[in-house]
Assembly symmetry: C2
DNA sequence: CAATTTAAGACAACCGGTCGTATTATAATT
DNA sequence: AATTATAATACGACCGGTTGTCTTAAATTG
């Protein structure tokens, strides 16, 4: 077995752990998720965990990045696919998120929001990871709103950055409400009020 | 010792547990907080816990109500003390929250938000408690905004209820951001954009 | 003294993390 | 090219400690 092949297998295992980690941290939170359960689910022995990760905290930090990546790709795809209408692209992106939220019966929500609340101020390592994850998300959203501004769809008396922040924050809060009230009304309101009203020029 | 006295003492103990519960659930979350630690901190034997609460879940549900009560009183006080300017009262209330947040170096945030994220979809009992807590908060905020509408300070083309929801949600999201970025910028922005701009007539 | 409340301790399950060792792959040396 | 030395990875048993909950007995009550 050559080096490339082996590296691939190790990455495959690590991906499996991260994948399962996303799912379980999402459902049960950080302290509610035991490493044993994660590893059992992907048939990897307990002792092997520390070959892949330094400890649980670093594992959590990596899960955060692994989680947010697809969302960035999804939003970027929308922004690229319809670059004649950036505001519409953003709206369609959030519509997709809402659809998935409904499909999951409002369970889980956003891992970033959940972990910010649970360990955002107790684990330095995860806090740093959360910062970069949120910043990457914010920057992409900002660039989309900037484009929408240039296209004349979004007001220019506010910076794209501040609107991106406001949108992210309201979205996070709305997700929490949606979760405990088991209705998509809060997230719908978030998009309608901000994207459909306040941000428009 | 008469029955009334005894009941008082029991209530005193329970209050101590709840008080400590608020502090520890705030800092370490639900699954990160062991009952042992809570009881040790208030010098009540572990075996006595189930004299006060049915189980940990019900304990959490009671902590939630115990936590939100002072906030409702504080907001209500502001609304009553300056009933000539309801919008100003709301603003001053949130200013106080921001001051306390800074005093705590952005640690903790809001217990409701943290627990919504962590166990809002896994514990039915806590979910129900979170619902009523948030609803009570929302209703009070709604009545304040309604008053501000009647006073002509707040726009009337949106319902007070929808604005209360939007404010609460954005506030929650902003608190999460403030927590991981260790700055009050997000919560300041929340108040400025909504109370100082979007809601104004 | 009977009834009820309080508390001590036991309980199994689980936690994150470490250990020595066995297996394998890479590098170095002939 | 064959063999040896070195390192990396895989693995399961095990560590001390803690979890939430329950049983049972002591203390306190009316």
């Amino acid at each position: 077995m050559r080096k490339s092949t082996k590296t691939t297998k190790k990455d495959f295992n690590k991906d499996n752990i991260l994948n399962q980690g996303v799912a379980m941290l999402m459902k049960q939170g950080y302290h509610g998720t035991g490493l044993q359960k994660v590893l059992d689910a992907v048939n990897i022995p307990k002792g092997s965990f520390y070959n892949y990760f330094e400890d649980k905290e670093h594992f959590g930090a990596e899960v955060i990045q692994y989680y947010i990546d697809p969302f960035l790709k999804q939003l970027a795809a929308h922004l690229n696919n319809s670059d004649t209408d950036a505001l519409g692209a953003i709206q369609r992106y959030f519509d997709e998120l809402i659809e998935e939220l409904e499909r999951n019966n409002f369970k889980g929500g956003c891992l970033l929001g959940n972990l910010m609340g649970e360990i955002g101020d107790t684990s330095d390592i995860c806090q740093a990871s959360l910062q970069t994850a949120v910043n990457r998300y914010r920057d992409l959203l900002q660039s989309g709103l900037k484009k929408a501004q240039d296209q004349g769809a979004v007001r220019k008396d506010k910076t794209a950055g501040s609107m991106a922040d406001l949108l992210i924050n309201t979205w996070q809060g709305a997700l929490l409400r949606a979760k405990i009230e088991k209705t998509s009304a809060p997230v719908l309101q978030c998009c309608q009020e901000l994207l459909g009203n306040y941000f428009k020029s």
